[in-house]
């Protein structure tokens, strides 16, 4: 049989062509745009690294938005990991009935359109019609409605709760997959030797789940830094509920990096160059923190 050398290239070419046209070329051109000052209408002027220098200026809100996003990741990830692991262990144990049903229910929040997640929590924490305030008032726990989304601290708390709600089922399914991969005879041997459940969990299960945890931490950082819709919808901008539309919430306390990029290029201003520079800054930060996240976890284990 004659091996035709063009065959693999034929099968590969659609992917390569589409990636070049709608992936790589925009990425490269975005870098060029990030070196210019441009609003999309008037002519582009080359400004070198000025946009990148401006990222460190307070007026760009870049560092603030990175700090906010990092705060959300740092507060949410441990919660998701702990609860995801607890639920996965319970579901994997012999002590729970209707496993498939519970697995599905806890995973549902992750599938919901992010826009809808933000709006749902906007409804729950609305100060006038929100369920949470009504419940608190009804039970007599507060004297007057709490302005959850108008206070920087409370707004951040609501975001952490919302992200936790959305994400714990996601970590759960990864731990379930990890648990299923641990050889059963390891646990059985330890049981025969008289090890307690807790001892087996700490000395066998947890170390063997390490690759899963590393994966969750890294994807959690990558995904977390791309946070946009949930806080954007939670804090208004859609006209739903009664909260006023503010960029980034009260004092921009919940302005995330991607939200900042959107607002810079397509919202309050149309500074394409600065928007593209924010995107590149975001990419660098994601790379750095994924690296640190992986290193930190490995160091802790040794």
């Amino acid at each position: 049989m004659v091996k035709k050398s063009w065959v693999p290239y034929f099968f590969l070419s659609p992917y390569i062509l589409f990636y070049l046209a709608f992936g790589l070329i925009p990425i490269l051109f975005s870098f060029y745009v990030s070196l210019t000052s441009w609003d999309g209408i008037s002519s582009r002027t080359f400004v070198g690294l000025d946009n990148y220098k401006f990222l460190f200026n307070q007026d760009s809100y870049f560092l603030l938005s990175v700090g906010n996003t990092l705060l959300f990741v740092v507060l949410t990830l441990p919660l998701q990991i702990i609860f995801g692991l607890i639920i996965a262990s319970l579901l994997y144990s012999r002590w729970v009935k209707w496993k498939g049903f519970f697995q599905l229910v806890n995973f549902l929040p992750y599938i919901v359109t992010p826009v809808a997640v933000g709006l749902m929590f906007n409804l729950l924490f609305d100060w006038q019609a929100g369920f949470v305030n009504k419940l608190l008032l009804h039970l007599g726990l507060v004297d007057e409605a709490v302005y959850w989304l108008g206070d920087p601290l409370y707004a951040r708390m609501v975001i952490v709760l919302m992200l936790f709600w959305k994400g714990f089922g996601y970590t759960m399914i990864f731990y379930l997959a990890g648990l299923a991969n641990i050889p059963k005879d390891l646990n059985e041997a330890a049981q025969v030797d008289g090890a307690s459940f807790l001892r087996i969990f700490m000395s066998i299960t947890l170390p063997l789940l390490k690759p899963v945890t590393v994966f969750i931490v890294i994807t959690g950082i990558i995904g977390g830094f791309q946070l946009l819709e949930e806080p954007m919808m939670l804090l208004g901008g859609s006209g739903m509920g009664s909260s006023a539309a503010v960029i980034g919430g009260p004092d921009r306390c919940c302005l995330t990096t991607v939200w900042n990029m959107y607002d810079t290029a397509y919202g309050s201003t149309t500074r394409y160059g600065l928007g593209a520079a924010i995107a590149y800054g975001l990419c660098v930060i994601i790379a750095v923190f994924s690296f640190i996240g992986a290193r930190f976890y490995r160091g802790e284990q040794q």
């Binding site: 693999p8 290239y9 099968f11 590969l12 659609p14 992917y15 390569i16 589409f18 990636y19 046209a21 709608f22 992936g23 790589l24 925009p26 990425i27 490269l28 975005s30 060029y32 990030s34 999309g40 609860f83 639920i87 002590w95 729970v96 009935k97 599905l104 806890n106 549902l108 919901v112 359109t113 992010p114 826009v115 809808a116 409804l123 019609a129 709600w165 990864f174 997959a177 690759p211 899963v212 590393v214 994966f215 969750i216 990558i222 830094f225 791309q226 946009l228 919808m233 901008g237 859609s238 006209g239 959107y262 290029a265 397509y266 928007g275 593209a276 995107a279 590149y280 975001l282 990419c283």
Partner: protein
């Protein structure tokens, strides 16, 4: 502790956590069945009787058109992405060519790049190509999908026997014929998983349509949901029902396909 007591305790613990997961859905659904004024005056815990009226309000905003747009975008993205990924996966898994490993590594590397990196220029590109008045800009970015290529390569490598391919070629099948008649039937599970993933990703996409789509006739679900607030600002109950209608069908789809969907998500995480 007896085993049955443990089972009861374990199940109760999981049930409580599940309640936490379900509560926001429940409240959202219930709120959509009340008249607007009632939402502000009392706590609503059981279904009300205003569902039909709210539904009429939502139907008047042509929500069906928004659904249709989302279906067009997500189905086209899914079909194209799966086909292109399977093509590339077939090349990587069952063919030899120059720099194969390097190209494969490069594809994997692009998985790490956040989608927003090229966004500004992509929007300019779409305007330049005159596509910003169509749904195409929402479909094209999904076609070259690095995860899809990775997924298909792994699956084709292990699921498609090379001998079967060889014998089909000896029988005179063309390479395209081999792909569609031999490879495809072997990889149905991988196709299902990847389809569900791409469908969900494109269905939930918000930033790109928010920037590119500027006429209501082309709104997809996430845009449609957010624009409900502007459509009838005073009718919160109708907005909430719109939110419910926009959320539930896709949840149902994924409840049905959850097994293969989860398999796709967790691919590669376990072996680290």
């Amino acid at each position: 502790m007896t085993n049955s007591l443990r089972t009861t305790l374990g199940t109760v613990a999981i049930a409580l956590l599940s309640l936490f997961a379900l509560l926001p859905f429940y409240i959202m659904t219930i709120m959509g069945t009340y008249q607007n004024e009632e939402l502000f005056s009392k706590i609503v815990l059981v279904p009300g009787n205003y569902l039909l009226e709210n539904f009429k309000t939502v139907a008047a905003s042509r929500f069906d058109l928004v659904y249709l747009n989302s279906l067009i975008v997500s189905l086209s993205s899914t079909v194209l992405s799966v086909l292109v990924s399977a093509f590339a996966g077939f090349a990587f898994a069952k063919h030899e060519f120059k720099h194969k490993n390097k190209i494969f590594a490069a594809v994997l590397l692009t998985m790490m790049i956040p989608g927003q990196l090229g966004l500004v220029a992509y929007v300019i590109e779409m305007r330049y190509l005159g596509m910003s008045g169509t749904l195409l800009p929402l479909i094209l970015p999904w076609v070259a999908n690095a995860f899809g290529v990775f997924w298909m390569t792994q699956f084709i490598k292990s699921a498609v026997p090379t001998e079967v391919l060889e014998s089909a070629r000896i029988d005179g099948s063309s390479d395209i014929g081999v792909f569609f008649r031999i490879v495809i039937p072997f990889i149905y599970p991988a196709i299902t998983t990847l389809s569900l993933l791409v469908f969900l990703w494109s269905w939930n996409n918000y930033l790109l349509p928010l920037i590119i789509i500027n006429k209501p006739e082309l709104y997809t679900i996430p845009l449609g949901i957010t624009s409900l607030g502007g459509a009838y600002r005073t009718d919160l109950a109708a907005q909430i029902l719109g939110l419910t209608i926009g959320t539930f069908p896709v949840l149902l789809l994924f409840a049905i396909g959850s097994k293969s969907f989860i398999r796709g998500l967790t691919a590669g995480s376990v072996k680290g």
